[in-house]
């Protein structure tokens, strides 16, 4: 049993590691976004941070162009773009519009960012101990470093509750800018997020109904299809037929996740053809960067939840098909951090892939998709899941 001091120190270490991972992945995502969309559009993507034409790198580039090849440096020379992006946002002038509500204007990006990061508190990256600190460490010697921050028994509710607070940042940022386009963007975004929260919750309820728990770790273990020991001490395993509602639920969830994170094709809040850039039109500098951070962190959270619940979590096969992998196989039958992050990165890639493929929906189309199609089909899916739970 850990003493309170050990608990606090351990929590601080875990939070630091987690936040550093998020803050590393988010700028890399912006770089990946340029590259992936570039490749899809038969371009090279970002290849430089400034137009350097002399020097070593340029010499290598000229040489490989002369040899009729695309220079290998083109893959990496764009990498400093993400550092340059951050530096630019830090050094830019911070403008507060005239007659804007200064307090709300400043606090809106913070309200947007805190829930986006707080979601990761209950996400379980690995269902056990990653490593144990050596006993030579001063306070935390001999303590396990777990793959999850907290293991509360209402994890899913926590995710939905915290995620529903993030919308305030967008609405208040739009309102406080004292400008037409941001206000319209904020209102659109609020209506969109509130509408899509219903099918989102309904598609997540499939997982809850099947497993009968709200704990993220237990949910992901149960839905992976491996035998699991509950808190009451009995061994349960998901029936194979439950893979059907889980499979459809994944697609419904990921659709609603696109809408919740305001990504293409549901980025009505920042539709640049109509609303300049929506709710963050008046924002500049670090405040704008916080909105971007929140958006990408939300994407990561949605990917992690989809990977944990529907794609088998820490195991290899998705939709509860892990039972077909015999235990004798050394690596593939065990839970691994690698599988989880592989799924998360694939889903993050899907966000970019869809962005490069689909055009933006019209607003009435967005609402009709949400209310007339997604809510009925998620309800039907939920009924199927409940029937399976009742019978098997």
């Amino acid at each position: 049993m850990m003493t309170p001091v050990q608990q606090v120190v351990m929590a601080i270490i875990q939070i630091t590691v987690l936040v550093s991972i998020i803050l590393l992945i988010v700028p890399l995502m912006t770089f990946a976004e340029r590259k992936v969309i570039g490749y899809i559009q038969v371009r090279l993507g970002a290849t430089r941070q400034a137009g350097g034409i002399r020097g070593f790198a340029a010499g290598i580039n000229k040489l490989s162009w002369a040899m009729g090849r695309i220079p290998i440096l083109s893959f990496f020379r764009g990498l400093p773009v993400f550092a340059a992006d951050g530096l630019k946002l830090l050094l830019k002038e911070d403008i507060v519009p005239d007659r804007a509500d200064r307090f709300v204007f400043v606090i809106a990006p913070v309200i947007c960012m805190i829930p986006a990061f707080a979601t990761f508190a209950v996400i379980c990256f690995y269902p056990g101990t990653l490593f144990t600190f050596p006993t030579t460490f001063p306070i935390i010697g001999g303590l396990p470093f777990t793959g999850f921050l907290t293991d509360i028994n209402v994890g899913l509710l926590y995710i939905m509750a915290v995620g529903s607070i993030g919308v305030y940042g967008i609405v208040l940022g739009g309102w406080a800018s004292n400008s037409k386009y941001p206000l319209l963007g904020g209102l659109r975004s609020a209506a969109q997020i509130i509408s899509y929260e219903i099918p989102l919750s309904l598609s997540l309820l499939v997982a809850v109904v099947l497993s009968g728990t709200l704990n993220f770790r237990e949910l992901s273990l149960y839905l992976a299809g491996v035998p699991m020991v509950t808190a009451a001490g009995e061994i349960v395993q998901m029936p194979l037929i439950a893979a059907i509602p889980l499979f459809f639920g994944f697609f419904f969830y990921i659709t609603c996740g696109f809408a919740e994170t305001n990504r293409v094709p549901f980025d009505l809040a920042e539709a640049e053809t109509e609303l300049v850039s929506g709710f963050h039109t008046e924002y500049s500098g670090m405040k704008f960067a916080w909105f971007m951070l929140a958006e990408y962190a939300n994407m990561m959270a949605v990917s992690a939840i989809a990977a944990g619940f529907f794609l088998g979590g820490h195991y290899l096969l998705p939709f509860g098909l892990q039972r077909f992998v015999p235990d004798s196989i050394p690596f593939l039958a065990q839970p691994s951090l690698l599988f989880f992050f592989g799924k998360v990165f694939f889903l993050l890639f899907t966000f970019l892939w869809v962005r490069a493929t689909l055009p933006r929906y019209r607003y009435d189309q967005l609402m009709s998709v949400g209310w007339k199609w997604l809510i009925p089909v998620t309800l039907v899916n939920l009924v199927i899941a409940a029937t399976i739970r009742l019978i098997f």
Partner: protein, 175 residues
């Protein structure tokens, strides 16, 4: 059946398949294939192939002896719709035809219509392939036969990285 078609996102799937195919092809083959499968280039280092009839900046030509080909017939000055060409006629020792003492070209009003080149009976002027026409001062756009920044015989220094205009054998000012 129609409701099933509406429920299944087949169109989205086919679109995703197409973009996924392009991504895979470019991601895996971009560095290996001999021919360039992408449509953009890394501009300053890379030659850009410009269409042969691309209309760049006006440039005067010299013949094999290094003499100016222009004979001051004023055809280009007369046909120019925006009247950006001004020529002063003069004489030079050992030359039968008239010799231009001044040939002024104001690029900021030029519309690059190529009427001057077509009207020229002696093939003494062309529109070259230079597309980097920026300058820092307004005076630099008034180009004469002699000039500090640029003159009528050479490409402007801004275009020194434009490999197309200096290194491309198809280009008229190929050195």
């Amino acid at each position: 059946m129609s409701i099933l078609k509406k429920l299944l996102p087949l169109d989205i799937a086919s679109g995703m398949k197409l973009t996924g195919k392009y991504f895979g092809r470019n991601f895996l083959q971009a560095n290996r294939s001999k021919k360039h499968i992408h449509i953009t280039v890394e501009y300053p280092e890379t030659p850009i192939s410009i269409a042969p009839r691309f209309r760049g900046r006006l440039q005067m030509l010299r013949d094999e002896q290094g003499e100016i080909k222009c004979v001051c017939c004023l055809a280009c000055e007369k046909i120019c719709p925006t009247q950006v060409i001004t020529i002063s006629k003069g004489k030079k020792e050992g030359r039968k035809t008239p010799f231009p003492t001044r040939y002024d070209f104001e690029m900021e009003r030029c519309i690059f219509c190529e009427f001057c080149v077509e009207s020229c009976g002696f093939d003494s002027i062309i529109l070259n392939h230079q597309f980097e026409l920026a300058a820092y001062n307004r005076e630099d756009f008034s180009i004469g036969m002699e000039g500090q920044f640029q003159d009528m015989f050479r490409v402007s220094p801004v275009g020194q990285h434009s490999i197309s205009s200096t290194k491309n054998p198809d280009s008229p000012d190929y050195t």
